[in-house]
């Protein structure tokens, strides 16, 4: 289980109020898509969930326990850039979490332990479709492949929560559709609660179980410092998506939009079709 509860969270940087009074309960195994205009505090929100930034007021709990004040292995993360280590190969990147866990002093694995870790890493690498590229360095991979690698690297820790900050924002639509399929599968198959920041409404609605929006109610230039963004929309996707279960409306697809054909205003007419 991994339920995240935010209780009246405020965040200020110096004089500037960024987020105001965010109260939110994120159910275990939910896939929350977070949208909002640029600069409204989405990354700040994610950093608070990571433990990288502390709320100015209010508290955050994970499974009823106050969040540890620094990033840790229970919360994985993928950023838009710089999520993988340029000096390690694909295999080295995925192995790193295992190495940190097993070898506190030398930070290296040897012999049988190393072989076992490599086996596990290889399975994950295959899972995200990077088999064959194990010995390449990130600079030799495309943007989409780097993000797949970042996912595999985070998932080897089996985190309770996966935080994604515009992870697919820099990818072209074709690659993005492909990685959406992967993302959905991973979410179905792993014990994960996901919070994903995105600018792409379509992405939010195709992947999420719940879409929330941050917005500044007062956004005149002179008010911008004194008033932060608040939680302005909170939409549960219907028909509900449930982790690990096929959608009742389309057993072989995750995307309920196409077979239903009901919502003419849904901006997602194609792509994303599971094989």
């Amino acid at each position: 289980m991994s339920e995240i509860v935010l209780d009246k969270v405020w965040k200020e940087y110096g004089d500037q109020i960024v987020l105001e009074k965010i109260s939110l309960t994120i159910a275990s195994r939910a896939f929350v898509a977070l949208v909002g205009p640029s600069g409204c505090g989405k990354t700040t929100f994610l950093k608070m969930l990571l433990g990288e930034e502390a709320p100015t007021q209010g508290g955050i709990t994970l499974d009823g326990v106050p969040l540890i004040a620094e990033p840790g292995p229970d919360r994985g993360v993928v950023f838009q850039r710089y999520s993988v280590f340029p000096h390690l190969t694909v295999l080295g990147n995925v192995l790193l979490g295992k190495v940190f866990k097993r070898s506190p002093i030398a930070a290296r694995l040897f012999g049988a332990e190393r072989r076992a870790a490599i086996d596990e890493a290889m399975t994950l690498i295959a899972e995200v479709g990077l088999n064959g590229s194990e010995t390449k360095y990130p600079a030799q991979l495309s943007g989409g492949m780097q993000q797949r690698l970042a996912l595999a690297q985070a998932l080897i820790m089996k985190p309770k929560v996966l935080l994604l900050d515009e992870p697919f924002g820099a990818l072209d639509p074709g690659i993005r559709a492909e990685i959406h399929v992967l993302m959905k599968r991973l979410w179905h198959e792993t014990e994960l609660t996901v919070v994903m920041v995105t600018h792409d409404m379509r992405e939010a609605f195709t992947l999420g179980t719940r879409v929330i929006a941050f917005e500044r109610p007062r956004d005149r230039p002179e008010e911008r410092e004194r008033y932060g963004a608040v939680l302005s929309r909170d939409i549960d996707i219907w028909p509900p998506r449930i982790a690990g279960e096929n959608s009742i409306f389309a057993p072989d697809r995750d995307d309920p939009v196409i077979p239903l054909g009901l919502r003419q205003d849904d901006p997602a007419p194609q792509g994303d079709i599971l094989p």
Binding site: E52, P71, P73, R81, S83, F85, H87, L96, Y137
Partner: protein
């Protein structure tokens, strides 16, 4: 086509590369010949043949007094000093650069101090070093270390701070401790920079070496140059200067090759 878009072909590139060197040699030959035609006893710009004779004498014939091949014994003495000093500086820079870059407490403690120390003109300290440490090897090596280490520490600390914050956060979410992150994330990424930094410090290191040797020594390339200066032996000084330059160029090149060989990924970024 705009000038900024016109590029030389491979052959032109090599020709252009060699041109300034050839030009320098020709200019030297012409001026030297002109001066010698004027006054055959001129010592300022010896003829090429005189230079070759001097090289032959210094490098391939034993010194009548000591029985040593002077160029090689001088080179040996200088390089031992230079490389031990650079080795010590590298270790100091690696350690302090990393702790200053990674640990906010150490940064608060040491960053301003190192910045101040790096402003002290090392040559002004030379008399103090000679008085305190004596005239032997220690004072010369110390001078070079004081001259290059602070700059290397600052450069390396900056490099550590330049690592994207996202990378460090990512490493933390993979369960890394401070030590593990230092060892597996930060260290490998600053090592290539350390080598580059060392290359940039070769010039200053040679400067301090020659200065120290000029003032007090009984062997070394700098010592020899300043010794024969008294006799206006340009035929020895010129080849020595060339030799020192060549040594520096080779070291520079070898260090860069080493970086690419050991850290192949560090050259991929530039794509």
């Amino acid at each position: 086509m705009r000038w900024i878009n016109t590029k030389p072909s491979r052959a032109t590139q090599i020709a252009l590369m060699l041109a300034p060197f050839l030009l320098l040699i020709v200019a030297y030959g012409v001026t030297s010949a002109a001066r010698l035609a004027d006054n055959p006893a001129d010592k300022l710009l010896p003829a090429l043949q005189t230079l070759i004779d001097a090289i032959n004498r210094m490098a391939f014939q034993p010194d009548p007094r000591t029985g040593e091949y002077l160029l090689w014994s001088d080179t040996g003495a200088s390089l031992v000093r230079l490389f031990s000093a650079l080795g010590i500086s590298t270790l100091i820079a690696l350690f302090f650069g990393m702790v200053i870059g990674m640990l906010p407490y150490v940064r608060a403690l040491l960053a301003p101090f190192v910045a101040t120390i790096s402003m002290v003109p090392p040559l002004a300290l030379l008399p103090i070093l000679f008085i305190v440490l004596g005239l032997g090897e220690t004072s010369k090596i110390t001078l070079i270390v004081i001259g290059v280490a602070p700059a290397m520490i600052r450069d390396l600390a900056l490099k550590v701070l330049e690592l994207p914050r996202e990378q460090i956060i990512k490493a933390e979410t993979l369960g890394g401790s401070s030590w593990q992150i230092a060892l597996r994330v930060v260290l490998p990424q600053v090592l290539p920079r350390l080598i580059t930094c060392l290359r940039l410090q070769l010039g200053p290191a040679w400067l301090f070496l020659i200065a120290a040797e000029a003032i007090s020594s009984d062997s070394g390339l700098g010592y020899r140059i300043f010794l024969v200066r008294r006799y206006l032996s340009m035929d020895i000084i010129f080849p020595y200067v060339l030799w020192i330059t060549l040594l520096a160029v080779i070291t520079n090149f070898a260090l860069d090759r080493l970086r690419i060989a050991v850290f192949p990924w560090s050259n991929l970024e530039a794509r």
